[in-house]
């Protein structure tokens, strides 16, 4: 191609992406940051102020919900990894022939369905008049109906379920690329199960583990449906606080401050995760 032509083509392709990133990603977040730093003095007049942030730190409900959301998201991520790893290993290394693509497909199926439907399914299973409660009564293990909704453990079940796919897919693809003969060689050299896992399998799967963990963590932290529906009124999830400030109380200044805080928290934890595992963001995310 002629250089002149090439430059024109480049400019033509650069314009839309720059418009998209500036108008829909960068400027909205800058605007949100600015709004979080102002206080309404009277109708239509605003002044610079840190008050929305001080409100966050002085009101225990706010920062406790924040900390709780962070801790539960980290726990959900760890739990998802723990549950998904043996499954991914099974799909990538143990299952033979036709079983492999079949099992992998079975993992994908629930996630073609809306998150709302999945959460709703858990509500039917776990509520007082639900399937599990009836099953336990029928078996005679409990005397009356048991309410399993509206508890932290239930929220956790829902969160792990919702994020499972985003852990299984990267794990299976990294484990797939590990040559079986490396594992066999390690055994031949006298390593036991745990030793092979620690020194061969896990180091090889590290990029998949990190990318799975980042995506699951982000999705859990930003989740709204699962904690609200499975946790009921007292689920105390931070995205709910953001929703309340914006939509119910119409306090956009406070809501923006919450949004910025959540964004800082998520970026910080993702950054720490990448640092600890020595992975690069572009490599892990694409």
């Amino acid at each position: 191609m002629k250089p002149q032509h090439f430059k024109f083509g480049l400019a033509l392709l650069l314009t839309p992406i720059l418009l998209w990133l500036t108008l829909l990603i960068a400027l909205p977040h800058v605007d949100m940051a600015l709004i979080s730093l102002r206080e309404r003095v009277s109708a239509g007049t605003y002044a610079f102020s840190w008050s929305n942030y001080t409100a966050f730190f002085t009101e225990p409900l706010y920062w406790r919900t924040f900390a709780r959301t962070a801790v539960m998201s980290i726990m959900a991520t760890a739990l998802t990894l723990l549950i998904a790893f043996p499954i991914s290993f099974y799909i990538a290394k143990v299952a033979r022939g036709r079983l492999r693509p079949l099992l992998f497909l079975l993992c994908l199926v629930p996630f073609w369905v809306s998150e709302l439907v999945r959460t709703y399914g858990w509500m039917i299973l776990l509520r007082e008049t639900g399937v599990l409660s009836s099953l336990l009564q029928w078996l005679g293990w409990v005397d009356g109906p048991v309410e399993m909704l509206y508890q932290d453990a239930t929220i956790m079940v829902g969160l792990v379920y919702t994020s499972m796919l985003f852990m299984v897919v990267p794990l299976v693809s990294t484990l797939d690329s590990l040559d079986d003969s490396l594992i066999e060689a390690a055994y031949d050299l006298g390593a036991g199960h745990w030793r092979v896992m620690r020194d061969v399998v896990i180091p090889h799967a590290a990029p998949g583990i990190v990318s799975g963990c980042i995506v699951v963590f982000m999705l859990t932290l930003g989740n709204y449906l699962t904690p609200t529906l499975l946790g009921g009124k007292d689920s105390l999830w931070f995205t709910e606080q953001i929703y309340t400030q914006f939509i119910t109380r119409f306090n956009w200044e406070q809501g923006s401050a919450f949004g910025i805080l959540l964004l800082i928290l998520s970026s910080l934890i993702v950054w720490i995760g990448l640092r600890l595992s020595r992975q690069s963001f572009t490599k892990v995310m694409s």
Partner: protein
Amino acid sequence: MLASIPSSRYFRGAYHAYVAAFFVYLAAPLTVVAVFAFNDSLFPAMPWKGATLGWFLGEKSPQLGIFHDTELLESILVSLQVAVCTTVVSLALATCNAFLFERHDFPGKNLLYVLMLTPLVIPGVILGVSVLVFSSSIANWVEETFSYDLEVLRPGLVLVVIGQFAFITTIATLVISARLRKFDVSLEEAALNLGASHFDVLRTITLPFLKPALVGAGIVSFLMSFENFNTTLMLVGSDAPLTIAMFDRLREGSTPVLNAVSLLLMAGSGGLAALSIFVRRKEN
């Protein structure tokens, strides 16, 4: 462990049981949703009161079936409109992005690539509120300066499309880039040598090669838009897409009509999933 590695029978047995239990866990919620769509009771709960098709075909309250529930039917239509618009604009930009990143070198390319990926790590609710805040800022400014109310920038379907487009583009870009990377540029060069114009090359060689990725990215974008909740929740106006309408129903107290809708959704997305697998198989 690998079949070639000796391990105890108990270990193997336990491992297989674990895998089986996992798939039961995976299937359980969807199965109950599907089954309770046929329960002849006003609540999607035990006990089982016999089978009925009322939650699909019922004509009047209390057993108003989905095919006669105008509110839900309208919300499905809204979701379809939003998903089609989002898919079209996301695909257009994603195709441009894929060509930009795979075919061109320019200063700051890596930085731009990282920025292109950032929507993946911004929680949906925050993406929603930031778009809400920014569009209102613009709308307020326009109203104060020109005393004209810019309706499109107030919460509503346009804003929903804009918000979903902001992050779905990234995913579509990744899918299309992956395919474009496999393309052999010498095919284009040969065509150019044989006298074809750039436009002809694009139309007859490059785009047909990209078609499976475009279809795949389109299906993924459509589904992601259709089932999006977090971003949509913040930007929605008076017309509610299906997920929002179902969420409102759920909070009021659920009836098995929601199961019936869910079952239709499962069938619909299952069909699309099968289609995308078929397309991918053709690709290889």
